[in-house]
Every structure is written in structure tokens, then in C-alpha cells.
Symmetry: C2
Subunit: 335 residues, 2 copies
């Protein structure tokens, strides 16, 4: 919301006007006002709650008269719910759906993509992998004819932070606590240290960019928790530090994938990805050694991914680079 | 041409059919056949030359009935000619112009962009910096609202190769000769080792991505040739190797820029960019530490940049990611 506010004028110059007509989370429930909510009380966390209250996603979308849904519920690796229901409901009622939640992509990507196409709405998810880095847009719009053969990358901040902490002398528990205090690790860090978060991201990249409907269970998964602290420190001293590596490759008409701690030599750029940074190297048929890196992102980077999806969904169509972009109609968007 | 051939079926599936109706270079002059040239004799270098002959770019474009110009003449840093004339003529006669030549961007970017917009044609140049890496498309289409504050990068292969050679014990002359044998260095390597090539790329990124019409002469420029071989080797031994670094930053409403050899610590990913690889780190307001790397590209990577521009120019409009792309009309393109 703050990023939307900050970019209000620039968005208007591109023909995009907006107002927030609904907000929902576990704490406040489903709140709507089709004329626009006063968000300050909500952002401040005060008890005064504006708007009318509904009971579920469909009632809420209707009361909000939403054109766009921003879905940012937390990851449920086992079945992707309730995020899938939220997105399905939005698309069915004719709203664009933007999500930062990876679960729906692993469990219902093909269904939701088809639904979006049938409804001529956008289903966008740029924030799900590497925050706001435009990985999906890049492959789907800017790399025509390219076939993605595989990738390797470091995609889980918490594991990366914990390994760095242990290398610097902390115990596993101390290092995890430090990651928590930095606001990176969840209260239950199992998704991270057992490799679930990275496995889900790997599966998402495979489904969307490699066109193979891999099941999450097919991603071989080994967390960092099985590593001994001494081994982690020794590996760093030897110049081949451990990193939690995501890998995917094509083999016999299938895509195979693995998330596992691996020792990486310092001559490999992936060895230098520290803390909350991430990096993916893509192996393609036409672009040798194409890699994207993101350094020390904060929550703003995720928010930017959702904002950029918003512009893709409701903004003027993308122009081939070089021409002067011309804004579309001055439509008003309710989200 | 070989890359176009190889992708003929995939292009047709996207509604793009093409034939080559004109070829021109210093050796064979201006050759056209609006019904399509038989390119094998030209690709094989045999003396039998098909087509009708014209005298200049305008006669040639007309005889070729060209819809798209692929401009790949060599860099002229001093005034960007004759490439500017080629591109101007193409746009004026209603053809899209695609160039791999940086000169026109430094000397006539704003004029050519306006001309393209007025003619509703595309003026595209993805191959000019980092070969086929989609830097320009990325910023112009996939990073809405982002402001580029500056960048640092390694963009000249020859300098990078020569430095690596000297570090491994070769003399400057031997190392240059090795780069020549690899087909990377020009016969006259002055553009590379004196920093001209890197300065032109820096100026192009500034003009196109930072919106500041910097003159080439404003880019502070220092080549690698002033470095002593011993100093280069000592720097490597100390773990702070020399790299020819391109930098740009905003200051007092202007953009300042510099190309110079600098010592870079091994903890900086740029220190690990070797040989013909390249990398740019972008400093933006919204995406922390966004970087793109390309590893050991060959001539195919440059060709891919032009091919991807071709798809942008004549293919179906880019879809927001997530929707199913639908092909446009089955138009035939002559280029």
C-alpha cells in the first residue's frame, strides 16, 4: 500500500488510477468499501476499523467491487490453500489476480493460467521467486525462442543466513535465532531449513519456465539441518563453502530437480551469494551463462514485484523497446 | 541468417514468416531480390552472386522491398556513420530498424527514436550491450516505475582477456595476440584497450536507461594500456585484481561516468568476471543489487539479440505474463 501511495502520481501519468476497496487478513477479517477504504487506521493497527464486513472471499470481492486482487497469504506447501481459492474466486468474478504466494503455482498453475486466459484476465506472480526480480516477465516476454534447459541457484535466504552464522562461529540454534531477529526466518523455520521453501521455488520455476508439470514430491530435497557445524566451518576454511543449492535439468524428456546443501568453490559466483541475497544461473540454448542476482532485498522488493505485476495487468500494453510508450485510457482501478 | 533458418518453424508458429530480400557488405556491395535471395552462395563465400545490384542504402532498401533492416556495420565511435544513415533511411521508408552497432545510439539515439515513433516503426538495439542479454527490454518493459540511479559493470571482453593473459604470465603483446587468435580483439585493438568500446557502451546505457543525453566525450576514459604488467600481476596476487570497470552515477542533476582500470576485491562478484564474460550491477530505487551476468558468449549471442529484436518488431504484442499468448496475423516479413 505504501509503495502504491508513493507511486500515485507516476501511475496516473501512465493512465492508472486506483483506490483500495478491500482488505483482509487473519486479524481484521474481510473488510470492504467500494468507495475506497481509509487505510490509515489499518496501517497503524488501531482498533477503529472502517468499511463493511463480509464472511468469505467471494462476498468480500463483491463488496469491494475489485478489479484486482493482491494475494499475499503465507505459504502452504502441502496443498496451496486457501490461496488457490482466493485466486480462483478473483479470476471467476473478472478480477486480475496477483500473488506473492508460491503454493498456488505448485498446486494449480495450469488450472489458474487457463482460467485467467478464458476470463481474459491476468494471473501474475512475479514476487514468488527472487522477490521483485522480473524473472517470469523476462522469460515470457523478452527472451523469445529461448528454450530453458536447466538452472542452478540459491533461493532461500534463511538457510543461507544460518550457514553464514555457523561459519562465523555461532551454533545452529544461535544462528537461527539471529535469522529470526533479522525478521527473515519464520517462527517455525522448518519450511526453510528442511528445504521446502527452496523446493517450492524450484518447482515453480520448472512449471512456469520449463513447461513441465513437476510435482513438489518429485523435487529431491535435503535441508541444511543434517549438516554438522564443524563440517560447515571446515568447508568454508577450505574455500568450498556449503550453500543450499537448487538445481533443475532436463533428462530423457523429463525435468529432474534437487535442493541440497553442496560445497561450491569460490571461483563460482554462487559461492559469494551471502545473507538474504539470491542468484540464479539459467542454462539456455541461446544465451550463454545468463544469470540474475539480487543483493540484500527487503520487504520493499517483494512489494515491488506485486506493484510491477499491477502495472502489467492494468497498464498500457508493453511496447517494443525504442518506440515512445503511449498511455492507454485513464481507467480507474479498484483493488 | 543461420539463426533465422534454425528458428523458421517456431517463428511461423508465432505468425512470423520471412525471407531475406537484400544483403550488403563491403565485399559484395548492395544486392537485392524482392522475391527472396538464395543465400547459400553468399554464406559459402562463392563468387556467384545472386540478385540485382544497387548503389546505396536507399536504392537497396527499395529494391529489397524491406520491412526490416538488420544493421551490423562496425563501430565508428567518432560520429556513428554510416550506420546512422542506414537506420534513418530504413525508418523513413517504413522499415523497422534493428542494429548491433552502438555508434548510432551515442550520436543519434534521440533523433532515431523520435523518427521511429513518428513512423510507428521499431528502432531496436538489444545486441549493442552484453550481446543478446535483454537489458533494454528489461528496463523498458519489465521494470515499470523503476528509476536507474547508476550502474557498474565489466563490458569489454578484449581488455578483460588481455588482463587475464598478463596475470597468467604473458606479456601485454602476447596476451593481445592471444585475444586476436580467439577472434575477440580487432586487428586494431585501440577501441578496446583505450577504453573506447567500454565508454561507448557506458554512454549507451546512460542515454537509453537513465534518460540523460551524455556526450561520449563526457565519459572519463582510461584504458588498460597504461598499466604496468608487474602491477597487474601483483594486484592479482594480492587478491584485488584489475578490471576495466564502467561506472555511472547521478550527481547534481547530471549523470557522471567513468571507464577505468580498478582493483576489485574478490568478495565483489565483478572480480570473478573472466575472459569474454560480462556483468552489470544496476543501482535502482526499488530493486536492491540487481545484476545481470553473461558467461563466455560467442557470436551466436549477438545474433540472438538481433533475432529477439526481430520478434519484438514483427511478432504478436507482448502479453502480460501468465495469459496464454495468442499469435497475430500470419504476416510475411521481408528483411
Amino acid at each position: 500500500v505504501r509503495l502504491l501511495e508513493r507511486n500515485r502520481r507516476t501511475l496516473r501519468e501512465q493512465g492508472i488510477r486506483w483506490r483500495i476497496t478491500g482488505v483482509a487478513n487473519r486479524r481484521i477479517g474481510w473488510i470492504s468499501d467500494a468507495n475506497g477504504l481509509d487505510l490509515e487506521p489499518i496501517l497503524q493497527g488501531t482498533p477503529a476499523r472502517p468499511g463493511i464486513r463480509t464472511q468469505d472471499i467471494r462476498g468480500w470481492l463483491k463488496a469491494s467491487a475489485a478489479d484486482v486482487l493482491f494475494e499475499a497469504s503465507s505459504l502452504n506447501p502441502s496443498d496451496g490453500q486457501p490461496a488457490i481459492d482466493h485466486i480462483r474466486a478473483a479470476l471467476e468474478t473478472g478480477a486480475h489476480a496477483i500473488t506473492a504466494n508460491k503454493g498456488p503455482l505448485v498446486h494449480a498453475y495450469e488450472e489458474l493460467r487457463s482460467l485467467a486466459a478464458a476470463k481474459q484476465r491476468s494471473f501474475l506472480f512475479e514476487s514468488t521467486v527472487m522477490d521483485g526480480m522480473p524473472i517470469f516477465s523476462l522469460f515470457q516476454r523478452d527472451l523469445p525462442l529461448v528454450c530453458l534447459k536447466g538452472f542452478r541457484g540459491i533461493l532461500n535466504s534463511t538457510s543461507n543466513l544460518i550457514l553464514s552464522g555457523i561459519e562465523s562461529g555461532l551454533s545452529y540454534e544461535q544462528s537461527l535465532e539471529q535469522a529470526r531477529q533479522l525478521g527473515v526466518a519464520e517462527t517455525d523455520p522448518g519450511h526453510d531449513v528442511d528445504g521446502w521453501d527452496a523446493a517450492v521455488k524450484t518447482a515453480v520455476l520448472i512449471r512456469v519456465l520449463m513447461g513441465h508439470a513437476i510435482e513438489l514430491g518429485e523435487v529431491e530435497r535435503e535441508g541444511i539441518s543434517r549438516l554438522k557445524e564443524e563440517a560447515i566451518r571446515a568447508a568454508r576454511t577450505q574455500g568450498r563453502p556449503y550453500k543450499s543449492l537448487c538445481q533443475a535439468w532436463r533428462e530423457d524428456g523429463r525435468v529432474l530437480a534437487r535442493v541440497s546443501p553442496q560445497q561450491i568453490p569460490l571461483s563460482d559466483p554462487l559461492a559469494w551469494v551471502e545473507g538474504t541475497s539470491s542468484m540464479v544461473e539459467f542454462e539456455t540454448d541461446l544465451l550463454p551463462g545468463f544469470a540474475i542476482r539480487e543483493d540484500h532485498p527487503g520487504v520493499d522488493a517483494t512489494a515491488y514485484g506485486m506493484l510491477s505485476d499491477f502495472v502489467r495487468a492494468v497498464g498500457p500494453p508493453a511496447q517494443a523497446a525504442g518506440g515512445d510508450a503511449t498511455a492507454g485510457g485513464d481507467g480507474e482501478v479498484q483493488s
